[in-house]
């Protein structure tokens, strides 16, 4: 059945379709005029999410590119500054070469020194170069010039980074202390104070003293038809164990073939580990029959044989006791000691043969008698190339042990340096913090996270260790004070269990400014980390604490001064005090040098005591001790320049020649630091490429998602327009005819 078509239904239908077409047309028009496919989130919700994402990425790419441009200005400036520096260093080196030759004289050298001076100035200017308002060579201290004219470094060793992409960080600065001037940057030490001690500066040598009392012995091999042991004569003098073994062997072999037996194959060996001599016949078939003293001689005791040996049925004989030291009355049995700056006491040891351990006991006994028990402790340190140590019972900077040679050779036998007095050391002093400006102590108030509060009186603390102990000893507040991993700042840790941690950890100054000066005056929900305390280098600084706690292994340094060469062994030095004492020891008096901490507090210095010469110091082994301590060497180009100028002014030809080595080292370091910047520059270039490509791709993706396809939309639009027209026209047709038209 055909449904009834009523007017109202017709109108409704027409209206509905017309409106629908018109709405579609408007929607398309909106797309065309805005150019976007998505004008409301509901048009395509998932597409909308992607669009927002792409927009974020594009916005951040813009900024990465901006960062990279900014970073490149830094890197390019550093690059050109360092190239210029390289040129200046080469120029200075060639000047040094020309002035080292014999053709140069005081006048030319003086003239050249002026030029060196101006090159030096220019290098410092280059090291103070800026990008905009920021200094480039000072680490993160970018608001003040890193180098002052005296060559002291005022920056730090922080690398600065910029973001060159998502999660990609690129370094943009250079660090002056890597190649221009050493900054020892010591970590804070909380090591216990040590007493003054004396150590031997080299291996214990010349243990065996041969003289008229013990220079003859008798030996016989089995089968010797001579029937009587033969005399062997030793030359008087001091010997190491190995040397004495060799000498004895030589003297026995001198007997040649005697009594039908060949003494030429006899071997004598010294075992350093056990301090035993072994005398072997050299022939497995021949026994070493006799080994005994000649009349009136105590040779066999010196060699460690407890009794004369006769009728030995073995091919070799070995000494029974370990003998390291032979103390002979009047020869090598006394020395003088002064403890803690007190009166000097003369010490005499009982004559006899001693092992190291028994010599320690004897020394201790004699010292106790002279000074009283417990004033000085004697020990023998085998872990450190055989050294004796005498340690004052007091600790700290007032504690010292001084040895004087006395009338004879004991010190030399024991390897102890005369006139070598070493002070004790203390942990880092509060007065040395903040580059020497220290901390104003007073009372601080600590409130832990459970609400417990206590006042802590820090006055009276002298070392950082004191501060930590004082805080940790306070009852009633559950906090622990300690140093951070880099040992540069104090960390206050709240030790309450989580349920008890109700509030912030807060520290304030009640009197004085300790909390502020230490950087712990904070109020935080968590642990408090203080500021970098930047201790100055002092005699008390431990070697292990240098370079932020990395320390350095020290070895030999070579010194040349005015034609005199020498080596100083710094190995095993525990503190800067040790180094200064070793360099300044009397045994080095021929070198005429003096070691000290530089006034900047950032490195050590060795200078000539002779006004006409310049002392040069070189690394004596792979430990590179001179460079490491900032005395002279690889990373101290500025110092090298100053030395050259001084040498030229003093007309010290030797020194000028020697400095060339430092220039080579310096150039190498500069290249190395330059390479870091070069790598960074490459990284930035690559990042630009990556980001630009990403930008293009993302923009493409954004456009694909968001933008309307104009061509398609326009054609849809015209189609829709036609559809609307058609619907309107047909609508007009259908509503018009009515019966009324046809009724007359």
């Amino acid at each position: 059945m055909i449904a009834r078509v009523t007017n109202i239904s017709t109108y409704d239908r027409i209206l509905k379709n017309m409106l629908y077409n018109a709405a579609k047309l408007q929607d398309l028009q909106e797309k065309v005029s805005s150019g976007k496919r998505i004008n409301h989130p509901s048009d395509d919700p998932l597409g909308e999410i992607k669009t927002l994402d792409y927009r974020t990425i594009l916005s951040s790419i813009d900024h990465y590119l901006g960062n990279i441009t900014y970073g490149k200005t830094w890197v390019n400036q550093i690059d050109s500054s360092m190239s210029d520096m390289g040129t200046l260093i080469s120029r200075a080196k060639s000047l040094a070469i020309s002035q080292a030759a014999d053709t140069a004289d005081a006048t030319t050298r003086k003239g050249t020194s002026v030029e060196i001076g101006s090159l030096y100035q220019r290098i410092i200017d280059l090291a103070n170069s800026q990008a905009g308002e920021n200094y480039l060579f000072g680490g993160s201290i970018t608001n003040q010039a890193p180098f002052s004219l005296d060559g002291v470094y005022h920056g730090n060793n922080q690398r600065l980074y910029i973001e060159a992409g998502k999660g990609v960080r690129s370094e943009i600065n250079a660090i002056g202390s890597n190649f221009l001037a050493t900054d020892l940057n010591p970590a804070i030490s909380t090591d216990a104070a040590t007493g003054g001690y004396t150590y031997s500066s080299s291996d214990v040598t010349d243990q065996f003293m041969i003289d008229s009392s013990n220079d003859t012995l008798q030996v016989m091999l089995a089968g010797d038809t001579g029937g009587a042991p033969r005399d062997v004569q030793l030359t008087a003098g001091g010997y190491t164990g190995d040397a004495l073994a060799t000498h004895l062997q030589d003297q026995i072999r001198l007997l040649g073939t005697a009594g039908g037996v060949d003494y030429g194959k006899v071997t004598v060996a010294y075992d350093a580990a056990t301090d035993h001599f072994t005398v072997d016949s050299g022939d497995p078939a021949t026994n070493f029959d006799t080994f005994q003293n000649a009349a009136g001689s105590s040779a066999r005791q010196t060699l460690g044989f407890s009794a004369d040996i006769t009728g030995n049925g073995d091919t070799d004989v070995e000494s029974d006791t370990a003998v390291a030291f032979n103390v002979i009355s009047g020869v090598n049995d006394s020395f003088t000691v002064a403890v803690d700056g007190g009166a000097a006491h003369s010490i005499t040891l009982t004559a006899g043969t001693y092992t190291a351990a028994s010599l320690v006991t004897e020394m201790q006994t004699q010292l106790n008698t002279a000074l009283g028990a417990g004033v000085v402790a004697v020990d023998y340190d085998t872990s450190h190339s055989n050294r004796f140590t005498l340690t004052s019972a007091t600790t700290g900077t007032t504690s010292s042990v001084t040895l004087l040679p006395g009338t004879n050779d004991f010190l030399r036998m024991a390897g102890l340096e005369p006139d070598l007095s070493v002070q004790g050391t203390t942990p880092t002093l509060i007065s040395d913090l903040n580059a020497g400006s220290g901390v104003t102590l007073g009372v601080i108030n600590v409130t832990d996270r459970a609400g417990n509060s206590a006042n802590i009186d820090l006055t009276g603390a002298t070392t950082v260790a004191d501060i930590l102990q004082t805080i940790n000893a306070v009852a009633g507040v559950n906090v622990t004070a300690s140093l951070n991993a880099g040992k540069s700042s104090i960390i206050m840790t709240d030790t309450n269990a989580p349920p008890a941690q109700h509030q912030n950890l807060a520290i304030t100054d009640v009197s004085g400014t300790a909390a502020g000066d230490l950087g712990i005056a904070q109020d935080v929900p968590g642990n408090i980390t203080g500021k970098d305390l930047d201790p100055a280098v002092t005699e008390q600084t431990r070697i292990a604490a240098l370079y932020g706690g990395q320390g350095r292994t020290l070895g030999l340094i070579q010194v040349e001064n005015g034609g005199v060469e020498g080596t100083v062994d710094l190995s095993g030095a525990v503190s800067v005090q040790d180094i200064l004492t070793r360099v300044n020891a009397d045994s080095n008096s021929a070198l005429n040098i003096s070691a000290s901490v530089m006034t900047s507090g950032k490195a050590l210095d060795i200078t000539s005591s002779d006004g006409n010469t310049v002392a040069l110091v070189f690394d004596g082994d792979d430990n590179k001790s001179s460079s490491a301590l900032g005395i002279q060497g690889e990373q101290d180009i500025l110092k090298t320049f100053r030395l050259l100028k001084e040498a030229l002014e003093k007309n010290d030809g030797h020194a000028i020649q020697g400095i060339l080595q430092h220039f080579d080292e310096g150039l190498k370091e500069t290249l190395s630091e330059h390479a870091v910047i070069g790598a960074s520059s490459n990284k930035l270039e690559r990042a630009v490429t990556i980001q630009t490509e990403l930008q293009v791709n993302t923009a493409q993706a954004l456009s694909n998602t968001e933008d309307a396809d104009i061509l398609k939309t326009l054609s849809d639009f015209s189609l829709q327009q036609t559809a609307l027209q058609v619907s309107l026209q047909s609508a007009a047709r259908i509503i018009q005819p009515t019966l009324l038209d046809f009724l007359r």
Binding site: I8, S9, P45, T56, S60, L160, N173
Partner: protein
């Protein structure tokens, strides 16, 4: 006598009938465009014949009744389709406006502001000493905060608009109820005389349809012709000739928004807001009470994520002059609420004591009994947290070579991870051989793992069977067997851990960075089934603002990590740049950007789907309308034909009358 007068009579009645018919036709034509009009037809019937010779003699035509063409079934279908149509129209209307609030398409909105904010940190990281970068950062942050405020305000305004619509709809409903009741009266009166009140019925039908668009209704007609209309849960709106009004009352716990009230017979008001199910009013109520609040809650989460995570990094950094411990944004403020349906009388208050420990999830406190409760994380749905009570469940007995050792856990509230860490600390501190252990909480499987670290020489025995291990049940370890672990072995708690908290009125509880306090009210304490909620994200978008100290002095913006490395140190600024890509939302599974973009996307999806539903119901209605029109609509052409028909009949009858008249004259002439 049956004679000419009979025929005249017939003609007379025929004339009347045809006149009447033409009247009806005229009525139809006049109402061709009237909405809801059903075409009427005059029912003609032949008159009662008289018994005559030679047969029954017809007596002409009689108008019987005027009937309207009306399909009742279509009416019911229409009203049932109109209810969801009204609902979705209301929702769609609001959602389109919500969509416009987000307005991301022209790139001028929150997404843009956030991008600019992150990029400002990049700029600052390039050169922390640059004053221009700092100023730009602070002002971009202010723009971001005010953009967030605007979004919140706009959405809240839409909420208020929805509320206004609810009130207006209630007014409309009341008016319609009144009109329908009136029409009921009139129809009842009219039909008392056994006549169909056609026009009234059309009008009433229309009004019922209008009403069904506004609110969900059931209706039926009684014998008197009155329609009784019922709404939510069987409450009557129209009963016979009486209408019951709906009212609105302000809900103090919901910004003063309106609750829909129904006046019962005794004059009391019943809150039927939750019983409503369909219609425009429900659409607006849903948008006002769920749709927009959900969006606002997500927006608040975005704002809270920004505020707290930025502050966490910024607080520990150093400004250009060495200032530290400065918040970048004003810190979060927590809100604590008790559920409306609580039977007990306890109240909850609190604050944030450690913003670095906040999870930014909402928490629910559910009372199992009047004295015990559990904490549920509203975001994950898991019950979490532990309460260790001194002397009750705070001890664990273990032995790792030094004999039986008892550890006592510090009393208080712990998050699950915190408790694991505390147990680990205590085990290691009391280990006889300084051995290391690893204790952790497996969130996926909701149990503890205790591991004797590989490389340890002594085995670890956890003495759960010992009566002194009071913590065993709380941790979920069975007390029937000890766990002995050699190096590398792990013990897992078998049972569900016990997350029960004991309630103490007025006691501070520290949990997850929040300190809360539930206190008995004047009417007593909490009852079993009571619920409290804690949230740190609520309303953050409304109040988000840059710390005025920062605005006043941009040097306080902390870019440096340590004061020693000022001024070039930019590590905190770099960390803040990296925060953009950090997974700080959704328990560590989404970034802030992803979360916000997802929110915009879901608004788009809701809007798209509501539009689809509207279109769907709209076209259903149009189909029904069309079918109704085919039955009840007026066709002018048809009426024209009818007009001609009846006109001809009228003329014919007129002709008959004149013929009869002549015949009468003839008769008279005969006499």
């Amino acid at each position: 006598m049956i004679g000419l007068s009979h025929a005249l009579d017939i003609s007379k009645w025929a004339l009347f009938a045809n006149q009447l018919a033409i009247n009806v036709v005229g009525h139809n034509i006049a109402n061709v465009n009237t909405e809801g009009y059903s075409r009427q037809q005059l029912m003609l019937e032949s008159n009662i014949p008289t018994t005559y010779y030679p047969g029954q003699l017809g007596s002409g035509v009689r108008a019987n009744a005027i009937k309207r063409s009306y399909d009742r079934f279509l009416g019911v279908q229409t009203t049932s389709e109109l209810q969801p149509l009204g609902y979705w129209e209301a929702k769609n209307n609001m959602l389109k406006q919500v969509e416009d609030v987000f307005n991301e398409s022209n790139g001028n909105s929150l997404n843009q502001a956030m991008n600019t904010f992150w990029d400002s940190w990049q700029q600052l990281a390039d050169d922390p000493t640059n004053d221009a970068s700092r100023t730009a950062l602070v002002s971009n942050a202010q723009v971001l905060a005010s953009e967030m405020n605007h979004l919140h305000d706009n959405l809240f305004q839409l909420q208020k608009d929805a509320d206004a619509q609810v009130k207006y709809t209630v007014g409309q409903i009341n008016q319609l109820s009144d009109e329908i009741a009136d029409l009921n009266t009139q129809i009842a009166q009219a039909e008392a005389g056994n006549q169909d009140a056609n026009d009234f019925r059309d009008q009433r039908e229309l009004k019922i349809q209008d009403l069904s668009k506004l609110i969900d209704i059931n209706y039926f007609e009684n014998d008197a012709g009155e329609v009784n209309i019922f709404t939510a849960g069987g409450r009557s709106l129209v009963q016979t000739v009486f209408s019951t009004h709906l009212n609105v009352s302000e809900d103090g716990t919901n910004h003063g928004f309106s609750r829909v009230m129904w006046e019962d017979a005794n004059g009391g008001a019943t809150d039927i807001t939750d019983a409503l199910q369909n219609g425009k009013i429900k659409g607006y109520l849903d948008t006002r009470d769920k749709g927009i609040p959900d969006i606002l809650a997500d927006l608040d989460r975005v704002a809270a994520g920004l505020v707290n995570e930025v502050n966490k990094l910024h607080y520990f950094g150093y400004g250009l002059n060495g200032t530290t411990n400065v918040n970048f944004f004003n810190p979060l403020t927590p809100s604590f609420n008790q559920d409306n349906g609580n039977n007990g009388d306890a109240g909850i208050t609190g604050d944030i004591y450690d913003f670095t420990a906040l999870s930014r999830d909402d928490y629910q406190v559910d009372f199992q009994t009047a004295t015990t409760y559990q904490i549920t994380n509203a975001a994950t749905g898991n019950v979490e947290g532990f309460q260790i009570r001194s002397g009750s469940n705070d001890q664990i007995v273990f032995d790792d070579g030094g004999g039986a050792t008892t550890i006592t856990l510090t009393a208080g509230a712990y998050t699950s991870d915190q408790l694991a860490a505390e147990i680990e600390n205590q085990l290691e501190a009391n280990s006889s051989g300084n051995q290391g252990y690893t204790v952790s909480w497996d969130a996926a499987n909701q149990h503890f793992l205790i591991t004797n670290d590989a490389g340890n020489t002594n085995p670890l025995t956890l003495s759960w069977t010992s009566a002194s291990s009071t913590a065993a049940t709380t941790l979920g370890f069975a007390t029937t067997a000890d766990d002995t672990l050699t190096a590398g072995q792990t013990a897992t708690s078998d049972n569900s851990a016990d997350h029960t908290f004991q309630y103490t009125s007025g006691a501070d509880v520290f949990y997850g960075g929040i300190r809360y306090r539930i206190t008995d009210g004047s009417g007593g304490g909490p009852a079993a089934g009571d619920q409290f909620t804690m949230s740190v994200t609520q309303d953050t978008s409304q109040f988000m603002a840059v710390n005025p100290d920062i605005i006043q002095d941009s040097n306080k913006v902390a870019a440096a990590q340590t004061s020693a490395d000022l001024p070039g140190d930019n590590r905190v600024a770099l960390d803040l740049v990296a925060l953009q890509h950090g997974n700080v939302m959704r328990q560590g599974k989404a970034t802030i950007d992803e979360f916000y973009n997802g929110l915009v996307g879901s608004v788009g999806i809701s809007s798209q789907s509501s539009e689809n539903r509207v279109n769907h119901y709209q076209s259903m209605k149009e189909q029904l309308d069309y079918r109704r029109d085919t039955v009840s609509g007026v066709s002018l052409d048809e009426e024209m034909v009818n007009l001609v028909k009846f006109q001809q009949a009228f003329s014919a009858n007129g002709k008959l009358i004149s013929a009869i008249d002549e015949m009468m004259k003839d008769l008279l002439n005969i006499v």
